[in-house]
């Protein structure tokens, strides 16, 4: 019976994504590790169109979540749209 209890607890932990041993009921901050970043380089389709009232700029401006080029060095995160991106692992 105790084995079943252990199994149930283990499955519950997996399903809820809880941190083992957190204990105080709070969600601990994400433990992150930064990796080499890759700039997103995509063409601007129509920045003027993005400024039209009622237009969602994401429709005409480049998406930002698809890394295209992997570079190294201090400007590795700089992207064509002027943003700075970095990849990290949430443990």
């Amino acid at each position: 019976m105790r084995s079943i209890g252990v199994l149930a607890s283990a499955i519950a932990l997996v399903l809820c994504g809880c941190e083992v041993g957190a204990g105080d009921g709070t969600v601990p901050p994400a433990q992150v590790r930064m990796e080499a970043s890759a700039p997103v380089v995509q063409p601007v389709l129509s920045p003027e169109a993005a400024r039209e009232p009622g237009v969602d700029p994401s429709v005409v401006l480049p998406a930002v979540d698809t890394p295209v080029v992997v570079a190294t060095g201090p400007t590795a995160g700089l992207q064509y749209d002027g943003s700075i991106a970095f990849r990290r692992v949430v443990k």
Binding site: S3, V32, V44, V64, V68, A76, R88
Partner: protein, 227 residues
């Protein structure tokens, strides 16, 4: 029973492993600067009376990087535009673009980081100007940044800065942040900054409906799964 327990343990280990590889892309936008001459007409006693009017003023004043890139290219030929069939820009071209947009934003558009706090507080400028997947960074977002993240951001901006004084605002690491209590505050992304989050300084006349000359820039955040 032992088999069931072993299965449970295996599930636990697999679940932990899966969470350990949850890569994500964190993207911090270039500043969205206001054209201050637009803001000056709508501050204090002339501040918009409705949210819709506030949104209209914010949109009229806002300048995003990509629009500036295109608009500035004629006067700043060092800017390289990327066409649909062009190969990716080199790091040198990206760096030059950033520095020249910073210079142009001030010289051609009188853009300074002088947002009226009430506009930033009331209007979703990030979503309106950059797209619905962008948002104002929160205090919780900043709390997840590591020392490496702060150093990376500073190093990138330091490297791309060409030394032009007028464009200096564009490289600021002091940003607007949504605090845990819902208020608008200032976040400092400088490595080692303490405190990291603090109240906004006073505006030019002490009210939230006048512009703020604190060198605080509006940068937006985008977080996406890298899976």
């Amino acid at each position: 029973m032992k088999t069931l327990a072993m299965t449970g343990l295996a599930l636990l280990i697999l679940g932990s492993a899966a969470r350990a590889t949850a890569d994500e892309w964190v993207t911090v936008s270039a500043p969205i600067f206001p054209q201050v001459l637009v803001l000056y007409e709508h501050e204090g006693a002339n501040f918009p009376a409705t949210i819709d009017e506030e949104a209209a003023v914010a949109h009229a004043a806002a300048l995003n990087f990509q629009s500036l890139l295109v608009e500035c290219q004629a006067d700043y030929p060092g800017i390289t535009l990327l066409g649909p069939e062009d190969p990716p820009l080199t790091p040198e071209q990206l760096t030059a673009n950033f520095d020249l947009v910073a210079q142009c934003s001030y010289e051609k558009h009188t853009a300074k980081p002088y947002w009226i706090p009430q506009l930033v507080d009331d209007v979703d400028i990030c979503g309106t100007e950059l797209g619905s997947e962008w948002r104002l960074p929160t205090e919780e977002d900043i709390a997840t940044f590591t020392d490496e993240d702060f150093a990376f951001l500073q190093e990138t901006l330091t490297t791309v800065a060409g030394g032009d004084w007028w464009g200096g605002f564009y490289f600021s690491l002091r940003i607007f942040v949504r605090a845990s209590d819902g208020s608008l505050v200032m976040g400092d992304l400088t490595p080692g900054a303490a405190p990291r989050i603090q109240p906004l300084p006073s505006t030019v006349n002490g009210t939230a409906t006048s512009h703020l000359e604190g060198g605080i820039v509006l940068r937006c955040l985008h977080v996406a799964s890298a899976e």
